[in-house]
């Protein structure tokens, strides 16, 4: 197919709200834009295991421990679905991983914050997975087929994440004064970073417009953030927790909760690598990869020998 015909077909697919599939012609910038977004998404799932895994050995009950292991295992799975989808665009898994390790590609800044108490595990499930869900539900409608399918599968698993988090928060607010204080402290620290997950205001987001035109992105950052705020504020009130925003107020006219201004300096600082744990997260990831080297080498050698043996007996 000529580039001219390919371009026309690509435009028609986007226009008709159909999905672009791996072997279709697509503009180079569409491909690069998607690889970047899907890789960041995959890296986020993988690095996102660290703050929660930090609490697996200290979960308060065996049931909570089993739940947390299942949740963290899901996040590894999400990383797999997304890397798998990104690879359909012609980038290799090795290259993506190398870009994460070298810092050439980023992951969501939310995972650079520390988990200081068990309540943070609850707050992450409720707020961080909650924010991710708002985003990912919309991304099911993204124009690239493999990305969309990965989102459908991920969304099926995410609501368990948010609900187990909220259930941790419920247990804490029904507990002792100290436990209640832990829950409040967790929302105090996670509320703003969770809102930052939706990215800068659309006016300041350089790629936003083009991603919308290509239907990679379907709803604007600020609108997604508002959806999250509207659904989450009543949930905080139900728990009897205070949202750490003195400007938060309900707008009777629009029916939306209005929030105060986000600390964008902190946002950009964390993105540029100066968040509380940026260096530790990557160092831990690289170490895990290096520590596993002998396993990969042994598995490769075993597979080679098996093939050789089969070759002989055949």
């Amino acid at each position: 197919m000529s580039e001219h015909a390919g371009r026309a077909r690509f435009a028609a697919i986007i226009e008709a709200d159909e999905k672009v599939e791996p072997r279709d012609w697509m503009p180079d910038e569409y491909r690069a834009n998607l690889i970047r977004q899907m890789a960041q998404h995959a890296h986020s799932e993988v690095i996102g295991m660290q703050p929660e895994a930090n609490w697996i050995t200290r979960a308060p009950t065996l049931m909570r421990k089993a739940i947390l292991i299942a949740k963290v295992q899901d996040e590894a799975g999400h990383g797999l679905y997304l890397y798998s989808a990104a690879e359909t665009l012609g980038v290799s898994r090795d290259e993506l991983q190398e870009m994460l390790h070298s810092g050439r590609q980023k992951y969501s800044s939310i995972f650079n914050y520390p988990t200081l108490s068990w309540a943070d595990v609850g707050a992450i499930g409720w707020l961080v997975d909650g924010a991710a869900i708002v985003n990912q539900i919309v991304l099911q409608g993204t124009s690239y087929g493999p990305y969309s399918r990965a989102m459908v599968k991920i969304c099926k698993e995410e609501s368990f994440h948010a609900r187990q988090g909220y259930s941790i928060m419920m247990a804490l607010v029904e507990g002792s004064d100290e436990q209640k204080a832990m829950a409040q402290d967790a929302i105090d620290r996670w509320w703003w970073p969770a809102l930052m997950m939706f990215g800068p205001h659309d006016a300041e987001s350089s790629h936003s417009e083009r991603s919308m035109a290509w239907k990679i992105k379907r709803i604007k950052n600020d609108d997604l953030r508002q959806m999250f705020v509207d659904q989450t504020v009543p949930q905080a009130h139900y728990l009897g927790l205070t949202i750490p925003d003195p400007d938060l107020e309900f707008d009777e006219e629009t029916g939306h909760w209005r929030i105060g201004e986000i600390d964008w300096d902190e946002f950009w600082r964390t993105i540029k690598g100066d968040g509380p744990l940026n260096r530790e997260r990557i160092a831990h990831k690289v170490k895990a990869w290096e520590d596993g080297r002998w396993v990969r080498e042994a598995a490769t050698e075993y597979a080679r020998k098996q093939r050789a043996r089969l070759g002989k007996s055949a």
Partner: protein, 113 residues
């Protein structure tokens, strides 16, 4: 949006060289899962594994953590032969509506047909 990291002011997106897709690690396998007896295997994604046996183990962990399947196939991605998805391969069918039952007007009186 949540897991999409914006470019900080003054930053450039990273360069990607797609001309040399070097695979140094395990080969890639496509994974197909039969959701339940009576249904065909359906493609669900891919994974890297050193051999078929490990690929099946990893597919179980990666794609069927909630009893999504009763059977798994793995196929080396490099072994899949695909059509050229340009429409030309499928267009000839579009001018053959007579292949479909709705092409024929049959009076209601004839009953089930």
């Amino acid at each position: 949006m949540s897991y999409d990291v914006p470019l900080a002011p003054g930053e450039q997106p990273e360069d990607l060289d797609l001309s040399t897709v070097a695979e140094h690690g395990f080969p890639l396998w496509e994974v197909f899962v039969r959701a339940k007896r009576g249904l065909s295997h359906t493609h669900v994604g891919s994974l890297h594994a050193p051999d078929a046996e490990t690929a099946i183990q990893n597919a179980r962990d990666g794609y069927t953590r909630r009893a999504e399947g009763v059977s798994v196939w793995v196929v080396r991605s490099a072994e899949i032969v695909a059509s050229d998805d340009a429409e030309s391969l499928f267009e000839p069918f579009e001018d053959k509506p007579y292949r479909h039952p709705t092409f024929y007007d049959i009076p209601d009186e004839v009953g089930q047909l």
